[in-house]
Symmetry: C2
Subunit: 167 residues, 2 copies
C-alpha cells in the first residue's frame, strides 16, 4: 500500500477511511436541507452532514454538524443507513432525526437552509448521490417505529441518483 | 483542537476517528475466536477484527481481517452492531458472519484460533469489552432473520464487560 511520507523527516502519514456523520432531519412532514457554501458541489442542496471529529460519538457528530451547518438543534432517533464509498475511502453513518421547533438558519458552510415538503425537494439540485439515497430510504420507513438500517442504494435508486449528478 | 504538526516541514496531520471492522463468526453453534499475538491485550481472546483500510468497504474489511487473523474465509450476513468508543476515537462496525467449513488457522497476529461453544468461550480471558458485547448481543438475536443492529452495551452487560477486564 502507498503511504504519504514526509521527505524531510520521514513521518509516515497512515491514511485511514474517514467517517461522515449526518442525518435526515424532519419537522412535521418537511425535510431540512442546506445549500452548500463550500466546494465540492457549492450551491447544491445537501443533508446536514460532515466529517466526524476526535472524541465524539457518531450521534454527537451528527448533532454537531446540524448545528454548524443549519444552527439546528436536532433530536437523533435511530440509524437510517450506513453507506460505503470505497473509491474515496469514506463511510457514512446517517441518522433519522427531528426538530422540536422550526428554528434554524444558515451556518458558515451554508448559503441557505430550508424545510421542504417531499414534493418541494430540489431533486435536480442535490449535492451527492447519498443525499438522494437517504431521503428515499427514509421515505420507505417513515411510518415505522424500527427497521433494519439501509446500505448503499442498488438498482433503480442507484441509477437515478447518478443520473441526477449529470445534470 | 490540537493537531500533530511536523516540526521540520510543517505537515499538519489531521487525526480522524478510526474505523474497526470485525465479525462474530459462527460455524454450526460455535464461535471463532483468535488469541492475540500482539499488544495490546496479547494472549487474550478476541473476534477477528481490525482497522479498516483505504478503498475497501466495511464488509470487505471484516472479511480481510478474518482472513489475516484466522485464515478463515467468512460469509458476511448482516450488521450486528455499531459501537462508539469516543475516548480513543474509534467506531467499530461488527457483522454477523459464518464459516462454510471449519477451516482456519492462526494468522501472523494470532497465537491460536479456535471454535468455542457458548459455554466454552474463555469469558475470563477476552481482550476487550466490545468482544463481550458483540457475543452477548449476537446470542440475543441468533435465531432472528433480521433485527435492528445494536449499539454500545448498557446496564448490566456494560458493567460485566468492564469487570472482566479487571481480572
Amino acid at each position: 500500500m502507498e503511504r504519504h511520507v514526509c521527505s524531510d523527516c520521514g513521518w509516515v502519514h497512515y491514511e485511514n477511511p474517514k467517517i461522515v456523520v449526518g442525518s435526515v432531519v424532519t419537522y412535521e412532514d418537511k425535510f431540512l436541507l442546506c445549500k452548500r457554501a463550500i466546494h465540492p458541489r457549492k450551491g447544491f442542496w445537501t443533508l446536514p452532514a460532515g466529517y466526524m471529529e476526535q472524541n465524539e460519538t457518531t450521534a454527537e457528530g451528527a448533532m454537531r454538524e446540524a448545528y454548524e451547518e443549519a444552527l439546528a438543534k436536532i433530536r437523533i432517533r435511530d440509524m437510517l443507513a450506513l453507506y460505503n464509498v470505497p473509491h474515496i475511502s469514506q463511510v457514512q453513518v446517517m441518522y433519522r432525526a427531528t426538530l422540536d421547533k422550526p428554528e434554524f438558519s444558515a451556518g458558515e458552510e451554508s448559503l441557505d437552509v430550508q424545510l421542504f415538503s417531499w414534493a418541494e425537494i430540489p431533486w435536480d439540485n442535490l449535492a451527492f448521490p447519498t443525499v438522494y439515497w437517504a431521503l428515499h430510504q427514509y421515505e420507505q420507513i417513515k411510518d415505522q417505529e424500527s427497521f433494519v438500517p439501509f446500505s448503499n442504494a442498488e438498482g433503480d435508486m442507484l441509477k437515478k441518483s447518478f443520473e441526477m449528478l449529470k445534470r
